[in-house]
Symmetry: C2
Subunit: 234 residues, 2 copies
């Protein structure tokens, strides 16, 4: 019923928001790498919108945490830090676990969780790890949907986008996403058998493991960065 695709040709959807959506996907897909400067004239040319419209889109992105805005210097794609990742997982724990404990099997969101698991498995068949990651995130977004709180859902969506930005920096997506399909399945079946407490325990373990995986992969990257930087300026 609702939803408009973000493809071109939307009726009545402001161009600034369409542009923000395009930038959002470009950032998440890795087409724009973290730290990259977003020149107003360059981008407005590439996207075919005016500078003013682009600036309106920038305001949205910075508010979402996907871009950083330094006065008189420009806007840059946000670079995730270890602190950011720690914070994001803290938020995820705080929101997802209580959300899941209030789950009952007939809720619409549970159907969405089922669908996400199925899609993740299909994507694994194709060895499309990026798609596995997307489905994974959709599973957890569905968990938050259980709360039926518009504000919480919006907030979580934003934080999840930031996390995906961090994923983009990581190389071994298979190792990152593959093991967690089974965990999601376990969580789902706990819910379906009417055991939200058990599901919450599983989810907590999931989040802890996922956080550790991301952090260690991230630490490796920052290490390499440091070494490279030191090599340039010895």
């Amino acid at each position: 019923m609702e939803e408009q695709g973000q493809a071109s040709g939307d009726r009545a959807a402001p161009l600034s928001e369409q542009t923000a959506a395009r930038l959002r996907t470009m950032v998440i897909e890795g087409e724009l790498v973290p730290g990259q400067r977003l020149s107003e004239v360059r981008l407005s040319g590439d996207l075919g919108v005016s500078r003013n419209t682009l600036r309106e889109a920038f305001r949205l992105l910075t508010r979402e945490g996907l871009a950083r805005h330094e006065p008189h210097r420009g806007v840059f794609v946000a670079v995730p830090s270890m602190a950011a990742i720690l914070d994001i997982y803290r938020v995820r724990r705080l929101i997802e676990v209580p959300a899941l404990t209030k789950a009952f099997p007939r809720h619409r969101a549970v159907a969405a969780m089922r669908k996400a698991v199925a899609e993740a498995e299909a994507a694994r068949e194709r060895r499309d790890w990026r798609a596995v990651g997307s489905a994974n995130m959709r599973f957890h977004a569905a968990v938050v949907t259980l709360t039926e709180s518009p504000r919480l859902i919006a907030f979580y969506t934003q934080v999840a986008a930031e996390l995906r930005l961090a994923f983009g920096l990581l190389s071994d997506l298979e190792q990152l996403h593959e093991p967690f399909i089974a965990e999601n399945t376990a969580i789902l079946s706990a819910i379906e058998r009417g055991d939200p407490e058990g599901a919450a325990v599983l989810l907590t373990a999931y989040l802890e493991r996922s956080e550790r995986t991301v952090l260690s992969a991230f630490a490796r990257i920052e290490d390499e960065d440091d070494r490279r930087r030191r090599a340039l300026v010895p």
Copy 2:
């Protein structure tokens, strides 16, 4: 370290954000009433900024939930609904209670809580109920600060602003804010004696009572609105 004062005279802060801040206070102070249309030409004239800059500010406000943007119709000051209030208190419970249970007495945020309580009492002496309400909100913002999570703090700030918008609709601010000074004091002393669990219980009760008060006052207003509207179109 953090903090952005809302006072005038910020250096190097983009005009669009200054404008957004001005609008924010105008909305919260009730200078702009919920439902009111914000004409671009009119406001840009009044505030002395260009239409484009004002539009950038609008994007920020709508993203914060303080304004609604209807394509080709304009932006309007958000009108809080009962659903919004229910949602906001759900979010408050979810965030504030766990935050408080992790409190320890020497934390910087506890000092901020103390300060907020003192300011609320001072404002009560002056019978300045709006200021009491502000100090009240600052107390609870300080509670969230205990988490030291930038994302959570930002989110809570936003939700709190929305709640203050709802407060603006209510008439009897004394009845709304006065009883809760004592409750905050009790919460604070529970923390100071090293009993975060007890503090959390008190906070939960606080939130429940506050929600009931706001909801009932709000229901009365919606009733009057309905009656008035029905009187106009019989």
